[in-house]
Symmetry: C2
């Protein structure tokens, strides 16, 4: 490293932060990538860890290993506590400070309970590996307890799974739980049969997958109902407890609830004291600069960036990746005295969601696909985008194996029981 | 299930308990297998999870899935609290009781700190998946912290790894850590070079692998020293703290210590109030019955069973498996009014230990092997004995991949940092 080269600090090694680091690989800058975890996580497949189809290491790779060949980049495992914009320094949890000339905030989002944080305990969301293994534990323990429960009502509640939120994550979770609870485990348990379990998907709006065209929403609903999932549309969750979920006035006895309803941006905005939208995302200029802070960018789920139709861009991996590249290009242009690339424009290659092990919906704009061909395409796309060659092989193999056998290979309950 | 059939209760789904359940598969009995975890664990490879080469799910399989085809068997996830030998019932943590006609105790062992339980916090042992992921976290975090540590002495202590105990587990752990710290990670870190780290293996006796012939012990010592491990023989650990291990009078500054020194049997003996040996194993009759308790057997690490040379049999998987089968045969003979198989005789097919990714030692009694051919044989044997077809493929693939690339695919730090 050369102390006189411009210093770029990237906070967060999600899709956006990694893409920026990769795009700066050959630039004459010193890059520091800071993350509070040591691994990059392929979040789109996290629900498969939560439902025991994949192992954590299949969808997560050490950030250092991914960037081993980026010789201008160092990786720090640390928690960012704040930004001193006047001194141009990032303050770390360990007490150290990291100076920057350019700062890229790619800190992502957590789930939001719309002010009802007390629901978090009973209806965990899925954003990290630890979240996913906790949900896996919860689902598998419910099945184990149902096996020995003699009280009929308690048994029913143990076998009732409520997924809250009808976006892609909720639809994917509900489909995967239905398969796990109704098919995969049926031959291993002596007293649970496929008819015993209920999987309920609650969505506040009038259709599933609201960001997709209506025809695909309808197809997704039919496909997921075929898997045995009960879909509640227009259902407003009014209470979540250890043993129930209340939707409107109806109390559903259930020991397992999963939250897939809302997201909230990381506290990056508060580090800068800048304006945010309703969910805490930083308002950015068209070129992704944070207004009023020269040299600071926000990307991915950290940024509120309007799309071509005026609505904010969705919080998906392709947006974050393209924004990471865009910011890197902006920095490189500035260093070389070239014309800046200007406003960020999202190239939308399509929108995918999967429903169980046989169906998916894909919206390419003009072309729309659904059913089994869409599922095959979804599988290929996800394996392709998985970081790390070994992960691709292992995940591909796990899927083929699970598909052929209905087995769930990662059905581990870790941690002590009671 | 038929209520009038004899009831066999097996406690523990390790190698012994599973072998007994499998051998009773077609017997006219109702089998209940109770374990406090939902998975069977292939313990001989646990050190590879602790050193990030394999994922937990690669070496663990749900007990229910393994026994899905055993139609006379039910599996309970519960903690056994005690045995009421008069009423012939096993008492569970959930409050329920399970009646038995025959009881097989296969509850295994934990590590023992020889009365210094305060060392457990600083020098964890490796017996469960949770143990292994905790050690993995500890080792990987030490490397991460060393990368940013500026104080020379602290940095040296972060990069010093002390393994206590020179049996197979200790030798395997030390070799694997040496590879991880000296080779696998060197290209990913910017300030750690192979020479920075020290791996120290402390053994109280005068040679490593005391159960092997002396020539193989010497070969193992040479092989592990070639990997860069410093071997301290005749070293007595006198203190273990957060930042040091003391061996005799010498204080070794080290933030990571791992315990592979002693085992202690499960509390099964106390459930029955029977005599034990020094480490808590139940004294059994030659046919593995617990003396004074008709119909109760103890096997594997739960039992103290003398071998042909008068010394107790070692706590290894083949002993447990053969004992499980023997007890099942004894029960079947009793039910059918046939002559009992009598005293248990251990058939010793050999003794294996591996040293890093290129060497192993094998003792077949007359034939002894070491070096690379022994390592290949060790690999084949371990993949062969892995339960579950998918695990075999994935582990085989991971090993080939790790071998070719020196990569460690499961290098995840889970849980929150600081």
């Amino acid at each position: 490293m050369n102390a006189t080269r411009p210093r770029v600090v990237i906070v967060g090694a999600g899709f956006g932060g990694l893409a920026a680091a990769q795009a700066l690989r050959k630039a004459p800058v010193d890059v520091t990538l800071i993350d509070k975890r040591n691994h990059h996580l392929f979040q789109p497949l996290l629900y498969q860890v939560a439902t025991a189809a994949l192992s954590p290491a299949d969808i997560a790779a050490p950030i250092r290993a991914i960037l081993a060949k980026n010789l201008n980049t160092r990786v720090l495992l640390d928690r960012v506590e704040g930004v001193d914009a006047a001194a141009k320094e990032v303050r770390l949890g360990s007490g150290a400070s990291v100076p920057y000339d350019w700062l890229i905030l790619a800190t992502g989002a957590r789930h939001s309970y719309f002010g009802r944080d007390d629901w978090a305990e009973h209806a965990p969301g899925i954003k990290t590996i630890d979240d996913a293994t906790a949900v896996r534990r919860k689902v598998l323990l419910a099945l184990e307890r149902a096996e020995t429960e003699t009280d009929h009502e308690r048994r029913k509640a143990l076998l009732t799974f409520v997924v809250i939120g009808g976006g892609p994550t909720g639809v994917e979770m509900a489909g995967a739980i239905a398969e796990l609870a109704r098919k995969s485990v049926s031959r291993d348990f002596r007293s649970i049969t496929p008819h015993c379990s209920r999987v309920i998907l609650v969505e506040g709006g009038q259709r599933l997958l609201a960001t997709f065209p209506e025809t695909l929403s309808a197809k997704a609903k039919r496909a997921i109902e075929k898997l045995g999932v009960e879909v509640h549309l227009g259902g407003r969750v009014t209470s979540v407890g250890a043993d129930h979920v209340q939707v409107g006035d109806e109390i559903i006895p259930a020991f397992t609830a999963i939250w897939a309803a809302g997201v909230q941006a990381s506290p990056a905005a508060s580090w800068l004291g800048v304006e945010t939208d309703r969910v805490g995302k930083v308002q950015v200029a068209p070129d992704l600069r944070v207004e009023g802070h020269d040299g600071i960018f926000a990307i991915g789920d950290t940024a509120c960036c309007p799309g071509p139709n005026g609505r904010p861009l969705p919080g998906v991996a392709p947006v974050a990746k393209q924004q990471g590249k865009h910011v890197a290009a902006t920095i490189i242009a500035a260093l070389k005295g070239r014309r800046a690339p200007g406003a960020f424009r999202y190239r939308d290659y399509g929108n995918l969601a999967t429903i169980g092990r046989r169906a998916a919906v894909i919206d390419f704009g003009k072309v729309r696909m659904s059913g089994f061909p869409a599922w095959v395409l979804w599988s290929v796309a996800h394996i392709w985008f998985l970081v790390g060659f070994r992960s691709r092989i292992v995940v591909g193999l796990s899927w083929v194996w699970n598909y052929l056998t209905f087995a769930r290979s990662a059905r581990l309950i870790t941690g002590e029981i009671r």
